[in-house]
């Protein structure tokens, strides 16, 4: 009974998606395995590292701390949906590229979605606010310096 799969309807990156999952399946695993969206990464499964960050109804959320069944009817955005439909990079993606905001790239989708969520809600977020928000996620390669630089540059570009 409990391992029974149940239907869940989501809107992922603008597309309606219907999956059949066990109640215990996390949203992160559902996105990766049932939606084929492996850009959302799992780094800790305890809600600390933030590699699994996605936007749910516009808010950055840890997808390892939520079950897919709980997301029924939600609008979900993942890294795969950040670029434009024609493949143009989002200013945050372009800025991470330009400013060396990534090294191994494992944490990068989480940081991009976190920053995208924050800047969409608060386009005028100042450096302190952005630093504080970016402290939500862990990166082991960059020392964060170029992540901050990338986000600040993208914020400026998004405002202009």
């Amino acid at each position: 009974m409990s391992s029974q799969e149940r239907p869940v309807t989501l809107e992922v990156n603008g597309d309606p998606v219907r999956v059949f999952v066990e109640a215990r399946k996390t949203l992160a695993d559902t996105l990766r395995e049932d939606c084929g969206l492996t850009g959302t990464h799992l780094g800790c499964e305890q809600g600390v590292c933030g590699a699994c960050t996605v936007l749910i109804d516009g808010d950055p959320v840890r997808s390892c701390l939520m079950f897919a069944v709980q997301a029924e009817g939600s609008e979900i955005r993942t890294i795969e949906g950040l670029e434009s439909a024609d493949g143009t990079l989002h200013p945050l993606q372009q800025s991470f590229w330009d400013h060396h905001g990534l090294q191994c790239g494992f944490c990068t989708p989480g940081f991009l979605m976190l920053a995208a969520g924050v800047l969409e809600k608060d386009p005028n977020a100042d450096e302190e606010t952005l630093r504080e928000a970016l402290s939500s996620n862990l990166c082991r390669c960059t020392g964060y310096q170029n992540i901050l630089k990338s986000v600040l540059a993208a914020a400026e570009k998004l405002r202009s």
Binding site: S2, A23, R24, T26, Q46, G47, V69, Q70, V118, E132
Partner: protein, 287 residues
């Protein structure tokens, strides 16, 4: 780190939720924000047979401001209290300040005030706040609703006085008048971590004297606790650096914390002294 199997019920009303709990007892667990619970389920440290999801229950995402108190509903997220603007006076300021220190933005976005209190981590901002203000927890079951005072509610680490069939539907906090001064200080190793030690204070001052003092501590015992020793030092004295230092010493001398990986017991005592003094200083300035 994948959770064990469970049944899932998305409740559409409190009645439905409490009737499931009444049927299943401690086999079931309520989930709201899930920011602690799901992590524990991923470690399989928590393995409820049934998860009762209250996120779709209408009417729980309410901050109900009354004449002397405010009721924070079970689906009010940390972030909403952090952003403020709904709870008036010094209580609103304290909620915003403490709320800013709860986890990180994505955690605050989804996690709930009541969920944190029901989780009963003695180093949680909201548990300490509940102890500070003698909050009353509104427990609802098929048997009705009761209010549990903070000092009875927090039994021990991760354990509350809620019965297995009860849901924490709201927390009632007294509003603080404008002559209250509130202060908050916590020490954690990293931004957003649970505090090692936390102090929260609410001080009423009249005619240059402290007329009422509340000092609560987190991270020093199995429950969030009030420091009656510090409170006794404060009442009747003029606010000021010396008074605060004396209160901090009294608080430090009257705790018996346990050590852990973040440091021995003496270290927590050091932090009690530092945090009590800082929270008082933040509440009242240098005096």
């Amino acid at each position: 780190m994948k959770p064990a199997s469970f049944d899932y019920v998305s409740a559409s009303s409190i009645d439905q939720a409490v009737s499931v709990l009444s049927e299943l007892g401690d086999e079931a667990k309520v989930i709201a924000g899930g920011q602690s619970l799901v992590a524990m389920m991923n470690f399989r440290l928590a393995r409820p047979a049934t998860l009762v999801d209250i996120n779709r229950v209408p009417g729980l995402d309410v901050i109900d401001v009354g004449a002397d108190s405010v009721a924070v509903g079970a689906l009010v997220r940390h972030r909403r209290l952090e952003l403020g603007g709904e709870v008036p006076g010094p209580l609103g300021d304290l909620l915003a300040e403490a709320g800013h220190h709860v986890g990180h933005l994505p955690i605050r976005t989804r996690g709930t005030f009541c969920g944190s209190i029901a989780h009963a981590d003695p180093a949680s901002e909201w548990c300490v706040l509940a102890a500070l203000l003698d909050a009353r927890m509104e427990a609802t079951s098929t048997r009705g609703t009761r209010l549990i005072p903070a000092e009875e509610f927090f039994v021990t680490v991760f354990t509350t006085a809620l019965e297995p069939d009860e849901i924490l539907t709201a927390v009632h906090l007294p509003l603080l008048s404008e002559n209250h001064h509130v202060g908050f200080a916590e020490f954690s190793r990293r931004a957003g971590d649970f505090a090692i030690v936390m102090a929260m204070t609410a001080i009423e001052v009249a005619d240059g004297r402290i007329t009422d003092a509340r000092v609560a501590l987190g991270g020093v015992a199995a429950q969030p606790t009030r420091s009656s020793a510090a409170e006794a030092v404060l009442v009747g004295r003029a606010p000021g650096a010396e008074t605060f230092a004396d209160a901090a010493s009294a608080a430090a001398e009257n705790v018996t914390p346990h050590g852990d990986v973040h440091g021995p017991a003496e270290y927590r005592v050091d932090l009690v002294r530092a945090m009590v003094r800082r929270s008082l200083t933040r509440a009242l300035g240098e005096g």
